[in-house]
Amino acid sequence: MIEIDNVHKHFGTLHVLKGVSLNVKKGEVLSMIGGSGSGKSTMLMCINGLEGIQKGSISVDGIDVHAKATDLNKLRRRIGIVFQQWNAFPHLTVLENVMLAPRKVLGKSKQEAEAIAVQQLGHVGLGEKLRAFPSRLSGGQQQRMAIARALAMSPDYMLFDEVTSALDPQLVGEVLDTLRMLSKEGMTMIVVTHEMRFAREVSDRVAFFCQGQIHELGTPEQIFDSPQKPETADFLRSVL
């Protein structure tokens, strides 16, 4: 379980998160929606400690992410993250991209790591591209590779940060299909997205971010069909 309690975050004088509280249960799919600059991506970075926080606490399965004593590298094995910019490692083949962390972080043998990588890459539909370098792949394929790379660590949680925003429109579908598949398999996921139809379809709950706070939180039906706050309604009108 991910427990977020009254989190505040500043970038210099900018107050990006103003007291966010939220719990995500095992097996749940939570979507974060909201305008750009509303703090949802920053929230994601704070969950696996890529960004620090100034007040409040975040704990994952009871471990305080931002405590000094916490071994972040160890914690991050359990939290996979996929970025808007897929960040493929250009000097490694697709297979090597996925094998790297299981080998170096989990200490698996070459054979084990390769077996995991082949399985995960097959899972996201890249079984044919194992020996290719990322530069030979389309954006959508690189993004699916990034998902396989995170899954290869067999994480308990997956964070997705606007994973389709940088893609050409015709490539968005293949990546969303991969996310759908994961949600059906019962993966616990937090998805920051601008794809409202997708959010409505896969989410158990939807959180609407506005000015660094969760303005409204509820089931997709509640948020999309009968928003309680005027800001939520305004935002939905602007994107739908």
């Binding site: 696996n48 991050r76 970025f83 000097h91 962390a101 370098f133």
Partner: protein
């Protein structure tokens, strides 16, 4: 044309010249290796050192880049005497080229650091890789590609610069050996022509092997 070429004595002393070529390679390689270490330190000093450190690095880099290499060798050979240090011509040449290499490579490495985007580090850290492993597996290999070409060029410069040793009296490198033979025989053209061929061969062999290595290393 009144001049008659005499190649036989030159061919006779070819083994000597080849030994000289080995010394040339040795000095160039040493100067490159030590220069690279200093260049990394200089680049780091400019990137994250304090004001004093960064200013000292600037003095080193700008002197290396804005004065002749021969001047730098002179400064070490003649200048260090003022501190009571006797530097022989071999060390003066080696130190001079090292100083020069470090200054030029420091600028190369500064570019190399920024050639690997911050997002790569972020992605690696998010997979649980520590700082050192991220540096070793993700940042360094990509940096190497960014600086490889400039480094091979610098190595060629390094080889060519060794010829300056003769000006401060070095007799063991290729130019030094050639000059010794020249002083004895006065067959200036023949000896230096053969030396030129050897330098050309060394440069070409090095450049071509570096290119082959690059095509094996950087397949992406």
């Amino acid at each position: 044309m009144a001049y008659t070429f005499q190649w036989r004595p030159v061919l006779h002393s070819l083994p000597e010249m080849l030994w000289g070529a080995l010394v040339t390679l040795e000095i160039a390689a040493l100067a490159m290796a030590i220069g690279t270490v200093f260049a990394i330190l200089l680049a780091l000093a400019k990137r994250s050192g304090g004001k004093t450190l960064s200013a000292l690095a600037d003095i080193w880099i700008e002197t290396a880049r804005n004065t002749p290499a021969l001047f730098q060798i002179y400064l070490i050979y003649f200048g260090l005497g003022s501190f009571g240090l006797r530097v022989d011509s071999y060390s003066a040449l080696l130190l001079g080229i090292t100083f020069n290499n470090a200054g030029y490579l420091a600028e190369t490495f500064r570019g190399g650091f920024s050639a690997v985007p911050e997002t790569q580090t972020r992605a690696a850290r998010s997979l649980g890789l520590g700082q050192i492993r991220t540096m070793w597996h993700i940042v360094l290999p990509q940096m190497l590609r960014a600086v490889f070409h400039a480094m091979t060029n610098q190595m060629v410069w390094s080889i060519l610069m060794t010829s300056l040793g003769v000006v401060v009296g070095l007799t063991s490198d290729l130019t030094g050996v050639t000059q010794q033979l020249n002083v004895v025989t006065y067959r200036t053209f023949e000896y230096f022509f053969v030396a030129a061929c050897l330098y050309y061969l060394i440069s070409k062999i090095f450049t071509i092997s570096a290119r082959l290595l690059a095509s094996r290393l950087f397949r992406y």
